[in-house]
Amino acid sequence: MMRTALLLLALCLAAAAHAAEPPPGLLTLDGRPAPALKLADMDGHTTDLEQLRGSWVLVHFWATWCGPCKKEMPTLQRMSAQIPATGLRVLLVNTAETDDEVFAFLPSVAPDMNTLMDRDGKATERWQPRGLPSSFLVDPQGRLRYLALGGREWDAAGYLAFLRGLAGRR
């Protein structure tokens, strides 16, 4: 009986450790403070990353001309629908495009998503993504913890398990 319990405990610990491991394609960062991010969406509603302390935040930089963005965006929407926003907030940041460009694109690939507008591209520049698309995971203390390398399939099982794990340890 005791051996079974210990085995179960070991399995649970191994599973927890595995869930904490980032899936392939996520680069672990050094925990430096995230750059400031305060932008408005197309309706003029402003979001300030600073105000989202206490939750993990996925900050995703994208543009309509970027092919991988078109493929990745629906996976972000499906992932968002499966993880409570109290544990993980998803902030899309469009880089240097107009309302017309975004409005013609976003409803066709991710109609439930909204995006902040980095109209002059300067916020994106401050974050120094490695390219577009690019996603950063910011921890509840406002530190950069992970960087997605290129477009990722955010609703794949490995990513969902990892993100649920993050959302559960605020």
């Binding site: 392939p24 394609g25 680069l27 543009a63 001309w65 970027c66 092919g67 991988p68 078109k70 493929k71 880089t95 240097a96 495009e97 107009t98 460009e101 109209r119 002059d120 591209g121 300067k122 994106t124 520049e125 490695r130 390219g131 577009l132 390398l149 290129g150 477009g151």
Partner: protein
């Protein structure tokens, strides 16, 4: 625009290149595949460049400058277990006579953009559509974008070199893509 999007998709998300390359036994024109690397390079036409940047609100004088430049769209992905160091400074574009084709670095665009007062949003878009000058490519990481050249006459060859390993002075990998052409390149009629 759909055509351009497809090009950019394959460039900036080279998984589709990998699929295309593996589907064909014969070497695919414009593609190098070997040593754990898939590298693709193809020149854009003036019309493609003008259409892409015009559609994004670039002013006519900027579009004209872009249309007179030879842009090679490059996409790359590696499946090695180590870092691959991208340094465009180590790449050469050479014509049939072996002469080096001059590459325009990102910083080379600063003066012309300053001169025509290119708006910040356009400068940002232009910057993000260019190939990074330098990058420590992690396993599986894609990279892509345009490389700007002074238009050469005739076909030319890309000779790309990469260092691999933990530091940027590791063993050298070389990849070669012949048969690239920007012929017929010139300034198209640009409607303001």
């Amino acid at each position: 625009m759909e055509y351009w999007n497809r090009i950019l998709f394959c460039t900036l998300f080279p998984a589709c290149l990998a699929g295309a390359a593996s589907a064909a036994e014969a070497p695919e024109p414009g593609t190098y595949r070997g040593q754990g690397i898939v590298l693709h390079a193809s020149a854009r036409t003036s019309e493609q460049m003008a259409a892409f940047y015009s559609a994004r609100g670039f002013p006519a004088n900027a579009v004209s400058a872009l249309a007179q430049t030879c842009f090679v769209t490059v996409g790359m992905r590696h499946e090695r277990r180590e870092t691959v160091w991208l340094e465009l400074a180590n790449w050469r574009f050479v014509d049939a006579a072996g002469n080096e084709v001059r590459r325009l670095k990102r910083s080379d665009w600063d003066a012309p953009w300053d001169q025509i007062k290119l708006p910040p949003a356009s400068r940002a878009t232009f910057g993000w559509t260019q190939m990074p000058e330098s990058r420590d490519l992690q396993p599986g990481e894609p990279v892509g974008g345009n490389v700007a050249l002074i238009p050469p006459a005739g076909v030319f060859t890309l000779e790309a070199k990469f260092r691999v390993g933990d530091a940027p002075n590791g063993p050298l990998l070389e990849a070669r893509i012949p048969g690239i052409s920007c012929e017929g390149h010139g300034a198209p009629e640009v409607k303001p």
